[in-house]
């Protein structure tokens, strides 16, 4: 608490973290590139410089509020400092604004305008780095990077991964994945949060609108679109409507005008997920394993578990995400209703999410080389298509979605916000366990926006220990506590993005991220309230689907169409390490995994024993010994691969057995 003077105005402050926040709360939009309240303070961009009486010029983001400070945010000197900083950034920045997808939402462009930068006195940079389009979700253009480090801190601090970091130094400095590799070849989980926070066009959502147009304009193709819950409360922002205002009807209308054949709701398959997942959960609770039950509708979270927590793979719900359930039903059942072949159907998802682009390409979701979901567009891309079509979105007459997959309950709609999946499943579980529907507010305890929310809920006789998490760094913390036995829970919901899908990286770029998320989530809860039904089971179209196609939740048919299994996954594509290479072409290749998981389980000792015994057995000439980095079977490590044989759980005691296998493969007499 205290009082400061800002530009001659007395301003009270309370618990603000720094002078920058006090100034902004006082209504002055002090410019910044590198300050974000959810990340650590970096203080590199120098845009937030202010004059403090008695101290001189300081970075406001770095200065704690103090009673009696007298501050000026604008002076000839400060304007000069900002302009020079901007000019220097612009000199190094590829200024191809007209072809940049962030034109209009770029902070650099915005501040250059605000500070009236009319020419740049410094020369353009001479180096041009290649554009990295290897990721299914994002495009990285290092030529537009201003080295603010926002993405580095986002990936490290919020997602706990650290895919990106500064590399090299001086004029060579870049922000890059490990070893200068491409984003598609490293441990990135495609959440896109780095792109959502990047102030420029250095990291952007991969745009695939042309493919969508091609399908829509092809007369022989039936185009089926599904709209995720979170899209309806955010796309309006692109057309000057308030965030949180639900515009489902306008989206449907726009898509029809554009030429899409059927418009459906992913909330419908979310309802279906609720039935399948609750059935699965109740089974696990009954058998007491494997618990905790993990939700699996966030593809970034799934990839994260595959890479970092293979020991928890069986905890992941086998339910496909609502997006993939939709694709599967549309292609393999609904196409028959329409009397067309699945090959003539093109399924487009509109998602708030960049990781969904990756999910749709996963091997699990291709059938005879055709994908269940052909194309994933983000909210941003759909907005661009609507503008391309030339529609005045805000004036469109709302229309309803198509049947049968256009009908959703409130439970399916709240999937778009953190805690929503849990709440929807709890509502249904309550009915399954007690035979009664819950009170409307029974499970509101799971709502909120803290990174981790732990709640115990009583359903009938049963107490359910629940954790709702958003942000993968938070998930890591919780998983470590579960591993060490400090925490024990029954259900874990994880969404990688802050606030859940409404905060997805495919959503319109928001200036005030927290506030926008709050409005969007309020919008979804409001929609739940106004819809007639709040229990997924009551969805008449869902019942219909069970009657006609699936039987009942958890049936063999629903397993075939709506469930899957995930396996462990290597983090970085790279070579294995040569330990001892025989030049003989007939030599057997023996790989000992020294990836994280196997290393921790003692594979180094194993490697040493093996080398010694290979030598003792006089087999050195016949063996190519290599240290592999992750054989993607971490749960059963240490792993050894002898030729084509994969052997798991190997200890030094098993080495004689390995030698045996080597001899067999060499067709040597077995000793």
């Amino acid at each position: 608490m205290g009082i400061m003077t800002i530009n001659g105005q007395r301003t009270t402050f309370s618990d603000e973290n720094n002078v920058l926040e006090v100034i902004r709360n006082a209504g002055i939009d002090l410019p910044t590139f590198c300050y974000h309240s959810e990340l650590s303070v970096y203080g590199a961009c120098r845009m937030c410089m202010v004059e403090v009486e008695g101290w001189g010029t300081v970075a406001a983001c770095h200065t704690p509020p103090e009673d009696g400070l007298v501050i000026r945010t604008n002076s000839a000197e400060l304007r000069h400092v900002r302009k020079v900083s901007l000019e220097l950034l612009l000199a190094n920045h590829e200024r191809e604004c007209t072809t940049c997808s962030r034109s209009g939402s770029c902070k650099l462009q915005d501040l250059a305008q605000r500070f009236g930068i009319e020419h740049i006195r410094f020369g353009q940079r001479d180096r041009k780095s290649p554009i990295d389009a290897s990721s299914p979700s994002l495009v990285r253009d290092p030529n537009k990077c201003i080295l603010c480090g926002d993405c580095v801190r986002m990936c490290e601090e919020v997602q706990g991964i650290g895919v990106l970091d500064f590399a090299h130094r001086g004029s060579q400095i870049t922000v890059s994945p490990a070893f200068g590799k491409d984003l598609g070849d490293v441990e990135c989980v495609n959440c896109g949060q780095c792109a959502a926070i990047c102030p420029t066009g250095a990291l952007t959502v991969k745009s695939q609108t042309e493919r969508a147009w091609r399908a829509i304009h092809d007369p022989d193709t039936t185009v089926v679109v599904q709209i995720a819950p979170a899209v309806r409360v955010s796309i309006g922002e692109e057309f000057n409507l308030a965030s949180g205002q639900s515009v489902t009807g306008q989206i449907a209308a726009a898509l029809r005008i554009m030429g899409v054949d059927y418009v459906f709701d992913t909330s419908f398959t979310a309802d279906l997920t609720v039935l399948e997942e609750t059935h699965e959960l109740l089974g696990r609770l009954q058998n007491q394993e494997p618990l905790p039950h993990f939700t699996s509708c966030c593809p970034a979270w799934v990839k994260f578990v595959e890479q970092y927590y293979p020991e928890f793979l069986d905890n992941l719900s086998t339910c496909r995400s609502p997006q993939q359930m939709f694709g599967s039903l549309a292609k393999h059942r609904y196409s028959q209703d329409l009397g067309i072949s699945a090959d003539n159907m093109y399924v487009i998802s509109v998602m708030p999410c960049t990781a969904k682009k990756f999910e749709a390409q996963r091997d699990e979701f291709q059938q005879s080389s055709r994908a269940d979901v052909d194309l994933v567009l983000t909210t941003q891309e759909l907005a661009r298509m609507i503008r391309e079509e030339g529609l005045a979105f805000e004036h469109l007459e709302p229309t309803s979605m198509d049947m049968p997959f256009g009908f959703a309950t409130g439970a399916g709609v709240i999937f778009g916000v953190t805690g929503g999946v849990s709440e929807a499943v709890l509502r249904h579980a309550h009915e399954e366990i007690t035979g009664r529907q819950p009170q409307p507010k029974a499970f509101e305890a799971v709502r909120g926006n803290d990174g981790t929310r732990r709640v115990d809920l009583k359903i009938g006789e049963q107490t359910l220990r629940l954790a709702v998490v958003n942000g993968l760094a938070q998930a890591t913390e919780l998983l470590e506590r579960i591993k060490s036995g400090e925490e024990s829970i029954d259900v874990l919901e994880v969404m990688a993005c802050p606030g859940g899908c409404i905060g997805g990286a495919g959503q319109p770029i928001a200036n005030n991220r927290q506030q926008t998320q709050e409005r969007r989530s309020n919008g979804l809860y409001r929609e739940d309230k106004t819809l007639q039904l709040h229990q997924s089971k009551q969805n008449p179209m869902v019942r219909d689907v069970y009657q006609r196609w699936l039987g009942e939740p958890g049936s063999a048919k629903s397993h075939a169409l709506l469930h899957t299994h995930y396996g462990s996954r290597r983090r970085i594509q790279g070579e294995s390490m040569d330990i001892a290479s025989s030049k003989k072409p007939a030599a057997v290749e023996v790989q000992v995994c020294v990836g994280t998981s196997c290393y921790l389980k003692g594979s180094l000792k194993l490697l040493r024993t093996l080398t010694d015994q290979v030598e003792a057995a006089d087999l050195t000439e016949n063996v190519k010994l290599r240290g592999a980095f992750c054989c993607q079977q971490c749960a059963s490590g240490p792993m050894v691969i002898v030729g084509d044989d994969v052997v798991s759980g190997v200890t030094p005691g098993h080495v004689p057995d390995l030698l045996q296998r080597i001899r067999e493969q060499l067709e040597l007499p077995v000793s």
Binding site: F166, S176, F179, E187, G574, E575, R608
Partner: protein, 169 residues
């Protein structure tokens, strides 16, 4: 020969492991580990860097960032002979650049590359090795040669080549 490479690899893995045991799984153990690898191989192979990241629970990008920040580390394999030409002020004014060019020409280095195609020589410039009295100075695998001229360099390199692989580190 086979066993030598195997032992060398296992040795370095063991030594890295010892460092982790000694200093703990902290980011401050990173530099000693990188130095260990650099000493053993004269560069930092990617696979070992991934291993270091794994062992310290750091992201590979962070390890890469540190490895590329310090000039003492190299990400590229270096030649058998690492020739460093001092280009500090004293050496520069005494003609270190003609010496540098003479070396590049002699070992047939092309296109601004630092290492010859046969992996024999790496030629780099460094700033002040602290032997200004003997300027211009060249070091070859750490051994210092003073008052070097473009002509002298031919003699030095010819002797090295005739000595064969005795200078193998």
């Amino acid at each position: 020969m086979l066993q030598t490479t195997a032992n060398r690899q296992l040795d370095i893995l063991q030594r890295l492991d010892n460092l982790v045991q000694r200093y703990g799984k902290h980011s401050s153990t990173l530099i000693p580990m990188l130095q260990e690898i650099q000493n053993a191989y004269r560069y930092l192979p990617e696979d070992l860097l991934t291993h270091v990241a794994t062992a310290l629970d750091l992201s590979p990008a962070t390890v890469y960032g540190v490895a590329t920040f310090y000039a003492q580390f190299s990400l590229e394999p270096k030649g058998k002979y690492v020739i460093q030409v001092c280009d500090g002020t004293a050496c520069h004014v005494r003609g270190s650049m003609p010496v540098y060019e003479a070396i590049c020409k002699k070992v047939r280095l092309v296109d601004g590359k630092a290492t010859t195609e046969d992996g024999m020589f790496t030629v780099e410039t460094v700033s002040c090795v602290g032997a200004c009295a003997a300027a211009p100075v060249v070091t070859i695998n750490g051994e210092v040669y003073g008052k070097v001229t473009p002509d002298a360099i031919h003699v030095i390199l010819d002797t090295l080549e005739s000595r064969g692989d005795t200078a193998d580190a």
